[in-house]
């Protein structure tokens, strides 16, 4: 998801453009008022665990994504950005700001603003039940207004049955047969999830 965001930036959508208009979109287990260029028509059950959608208005980029687990910490956010920056064209200037913690509609969140060439990329990762929701806005101007408009509308309403299903899988892998031993070594043991 995050790599797709950078891909869009690499393709050159950064910049300024026309006035942004908004509409409310219902995502799996949460809703947001987002720019009309951003829509979601995925299967809310299939994509409950994780998903992503992105849109472009003028030369602004908007991304909404979600995944299992708590929101990124202030230590993790710069690492994500640093890893994503490898997708940028050689020589592109990149500077990550200082991550900060905040609360969005009562949910813990982490925000990190970065500068890529002349574009500002603002990312907010907010907790929602057993998942986190990443909201990103990239543009040369007006990033703060669009981001705050989206965050003010954030409504987290997890689907209990789907959230419960996330909780039953303590590890992301499963097996259909008894676990074999790799390379003839001793049987592997679980040490943590």
């Amino acid at each position: 998801m995050r790599s797709s965001l950078l891909l869009a930036l690499v393709l050159g959508v950064a910049g300024c453009g026309d006035k942004v208009t908004f509409h409310v979109v219902e995502f799996p287990g949460f809703s947001l008022e987002v720019p009309t260029a951003l829509t979601y028509d995925g299967d809310p059950k299939v994509e409950y665990r994780a998903g992503q959608t992105q849109g472009q208005a003028g030369r602004r980029l908007f991304v909404v994504g979600w995944q299992p687990g708590p929101n990124a910490t202030v230590d993790e956010m710069p690492m994500f950005m640093k890893a994503m920056a490898t997708a940028l064209p050689g020589g592109a200037s990149f500077h990550a700001g200082t991550p900060q913690t905040l609360t969005i509609a009562g949910h813990p969140a982490t925000r990190l603003d970065s500068q890529i060439e002349t574009m500002t990329l603002s990312m907010v990762d907010v907790a929602c039940g057993k998942r986190s929701v990443l909201i990103a806005v990239g543009a040369e101007r007006g990033v703060d207004e669009v981001r705050e408009h989206m965050l003010a509308s954030f409504d987290c309403h997890p689907i209990a049955a789907e959230d419960a299903a996330i909780g039953t899988t303590a590890v992301p892998i499963g097996v259909d047969d008894p676990v074999p031993s790799p390379a003839g070594a001793s049987r592997p043991t679980a040490t943590c999830s």
Partner: protein, 118 residues
């Protein structure tokens, strides 16, 4: 994470593997490891079905160990799994082992693995 006497494997769930190919993995991994104070040196890549594997060595603090990173999408869902195995020289054996694992399903029982010794 699972482990035995020769290797450790960590598993990570990611939202999507769409658009990630061997070239992109090869480009991102050094920086990803570097941001955690480690060095990743790629040897080669392996594709088995729709699963991608990167084979190389991970170095930290002057110590170097063989490593295999695997990536596979979860059928019928948007998410994917990344597995990172270190410590075993036989990359083919590690890839065979990882190939027998799948994404977790909501109704899965606990993994049939022995608990780690305290």
């Amino acid at each position: 994470m699972i482990a035995n006497a020769t290797m450790q494997i960590g598993f990570y769930q990611i939202p999507s593997s769409t658009g990630i190919d061997s070239d992109r993995l090869a480009k991102v991994l050094p920086t990803l490891f570097g941001s955690a104070g480690m060095t990743w040196t790629r040897d080669h890549s392996v594709t088995r079905g729709d699963r991608l594997y990167e084979v190389g060595r991970m170095s930290i603090g002057g110590e170097s160990t063989p490593g295999v990173l695997g990536l596979w999408a979860c059928p019928g869902r948007a998410d994917a799994v990344i597995a990172f195995a270190i410590g075993a020289d036989a990359a083919d054996g590690v890839i065979d082992f990882l190939g027998k694992l799948r994404c977790a399903r909501p109704d899965d029982p606990p993994l049939p693995l022995a608990p780690a010794a305290p």
